[in-house]
């Protein structure tokens, strides 16, 4: 019963949300990129570069705000590389993503050595300030402050809603979906397919970069390889959520939830070996995919380069 109490507590909810934030941000990026027809396995590397950029930016300027900006820009630049390779050069998008992930691991470590003379950690930097909405003191208001007072969490929430509106309500969104479904059709109507795709991939870089910013600035430092598979989980969430912002966000909460559950289960001293508890989120995903979601149909032109010529 201690477990149930644990699960239904506010603390659990906050933890779930905190864990989900980087997933959600990266997954929103994934939705933009993939909806426009560009597979983005590079999310993992983008997160990593975003995290490094944010920490380095903060370290150099002393301001976490500039740091966050640097993280987003690092993400956008990484995404730009992915875009150039897969749109301009029409290379295989999955390979491009895999290569960029490899590159990001190498580059962040290389510059970690140059700037911080370390193979594993940066110096500690300022983080994002959490605002006190309620007077601090008792546990409850502290938790509310952690949630509502955290600008990154609020921003994430906003981004999810915003993404939905952009994709489904605006002219830009209509073109974005068209380009991902049937680029030839869009092209014949005078839409610049590849320009649209560039824009979407770069947006995805900004968002996944922001996921990195969360990791870097929430930890107040960069640690080698700190993206730790989150980009892949985000991709899974995009597919799970059927390429819709809300769906993907919910999938992220599911992943975040099962991780939080795993932590709660472990701390409550259950006898299940840790290794099995560790498996929960992944098993859950597989079962859900096989059982409930089944075939999720991707944007029809996903992964296919388009030759405008």
């Amino acid at each position: 019963m201690a477990i149930l109490n644990g699960i239904f507590s506010l603390a659990f909810l906050i933890q779930l949300i905190r864990i989900s934030v980087p997933y959600v941000l990266a997954a929103m990026g994934g939705v933009f990129s993939e909806r426009s027809g560009v597979t983005n396995i590079a999310l993992e590397g983008i997160i990593l570069n975003g995290a490094f950029g944010s920490v380095l930016g903060t370290y150099l300027t002393g301001s976490p705000l500039y740091g966050a900006l640097a993280g987003v820009i690092a993400g956008m630049l990484t995404a730009l590389l992915h875009a150039v390779i897969s749109i301009r050069f029409r290379a295989d998008q999955i390979i491009s993503g895999v290569a960029i992930n490899l590159l990001s691991v190498g580059l962040t470590k290389f510059f970690l050595k140059i700037f911080f003379d370390s193979s594993s950690n940066s110096s500690r930097v300022e983080g994002i300030k959490v605002f006190q909405i309620l007077p601090p003191g008792n546990g409850f208001s502290d938790m509310i402050n952690q949630l509502v007072g955290n600008p990154m969490i609020m921003l994430t929430l906003f981004i999810v809603v915003f993404s939905h509106i952009i994709i489904f309500k605006t002219v830009f969104g209509l073109r974005l979906r068209a380009v991902g479904e049937h680029p030839e059709a869009a092209d014949t109507l005078g839409i610049r397919v590849n320009v649209m795709r560039y824009v979407c991939v770069i947006i995805s870089g900004a968002l996944a970069g922001l996921a990195g910013v969360w990791l870097g600035l929430d930890q107040h430092q960069f640690t080698d390889g700190m993206s730790n598979g989150r980009g892949f989980i985000a991709i899974a969430a995009v597919i799970f959520g059927k390429w819709n912002p809300y769906g993907a966000a919910l999938a992220c909460l599911l992943f975040g939830g099962s991780e939080a559950l795993q932590i709660t289960l472990q701390s409550s001293g259950s006898n299940i070996p840790t290794q099995f508890i560790q498996m929960i989120p992944y098993l859950l995903t597989m079962i859900a995919l096989a059982g409930f979601i089944g075939k999720s149909t991707s944007p029809a032109a996903l992964g296919k380069a388009y030759d405008e010529d």
Binding site: Q15, S120, D218, Q219, Q221, D224, Q266
Partner: protein
């Protein structure tokens, strides 16, 4: 800031060439590897040696790195981490003319429980983490207000279990009813470098009433400190003195004097006193200890400090036996 470190002083006799191969985390982990690095640097400065280091990372590069150093006429080759045990043993057999040292080197036992000694050109530098952790457990138990303390390990492996069980025994000795909550960050090497996970694990423990957490999780522990800072709780560091990672929130650190061990073995080699076999660094030898200095004096307090000294003495005298 080049990794190739050359001695500045020029002596007459040929300098001792020391090669060092780091553990998975590599330099800059702010604990284990950095401690080893400090020992090496001190030796360069004070003993006039020539040194080179390699960071093989995860995987099968360890023995290759050792082999290459051996082939390049390094006199003393040091591997950092228990994972080097077999690699050092094999390479040492192939290069009897060189000397080797392994930090956390595992001395295996035969069927009758007798130690199988490592090759004669290998020094096994072993630390009694359980003794230091026992002290950390006692400290946490003495300081807790909630009667609930926590432990966060990196990868779920025997070496880290040593920390956990020492910590638990120490705490139970002070208060048999104390509740100790343990978490591990994961089951792969990455579990030592996931501070975000560390932060969530710690936050969860603190939210469940834990007020002091001891970690043995490499860079993951940096996340534990972040949680401590955030929630204004206490944490106990590991391997190096980690006070500066979260001043005011680090109750103490259980340090492993890897730097001392490395410095000593280099010095012994220069002095011609190198000998193979196990070198044990326990509480008694000062190889492991709890930090008590001007930074955390106030946090620990006099009475608790006295009590800890007492326990320390008992362990040294064999009145308390820390078993696994």
């Amino acid at each position: 800031n080049k990794p190739e470190i050359k001695n500045a002083s020029t002596g007459d006799k040929p300098k001792l060439r020391v090669g060092l191969v780091f553990d998975v985390g590599g330099r800059g982990d702010k604990s284990f590897n950095d401690s080893a690095y400090n020992g090496l640097q001190r030796a360069i400065k004070n003993l006039g040696i020539e040194a080179q280091y390699v960071e093989p990372g995860e995987g099968s590069d360890r023995s290759s790195a050792l082999n290459r150093l051996a082939a390049q006429n390094f006199d003393l080759i040091i591997g950092i981490g228990f994972i080097f045990t077999d690699d050092i043993t094999n390479v040492a057999k192939k290069h009897p003319e060189r000397k080797f040292a392994g930090v956390d080197f595992v001395v295996n036992q035969d069927k009758d429980g007798k130690d199988i000694p490592p090759p004669s050109n290998v020094a096994a530098l072993k630390f009694k983490e359980e003794e230091g952790s026992y002290m950390a457990g006692a400290l946490a138990a003495l300081k807790t207000k909630t009667n609930k303390i926590g432990f966060i390990g990196g990868m779920d492996i025997p070496l880290i279990h040593k920390f956990e069980s020492g910590y638990k025994s120490g705490a139970k000795m002070i208060n048999p009813n104390i509740e100790v909550i343990s978490n591990y960050a994961g089951v792969t090497g990455a579990a030592f470098k996931d501070p975000a996970k560390g932060k969530e694990l710690a936050t969860s423990q603190y939210n469940n009433g834990v007020d002091i957490i001891y970690h043995a999780s490499g860079s993951t522990g940096l996340g534990v400190f972040e949680a401590a800072r955030n929630l204004k709780k206490l944490a106990i560091g590991v391997d190096s003195d980690q006070y500066s990672e979260a001043p005011g929130f680090i109750l103490s650190s259980m340090v492993k004097k890897v730097d001392v061990a490395i410095y000593d073995i280099i010095k012994d080699t220069i002095d011609g006193k190198f000998s193979g076999g196990a070198k044990i660094f326990g509480l008694k030898q000062g190889g492991v200890s709890l930090i008590y200095d001007e930074h955390n004096k106030a946090l620990i307090g006099d009475t608790v400090h006295k009590k800890l000294e007492e326990i320390n003495n008992k362990i040294n005298n064999g009145l308390i036996k820390v078993t696994l």
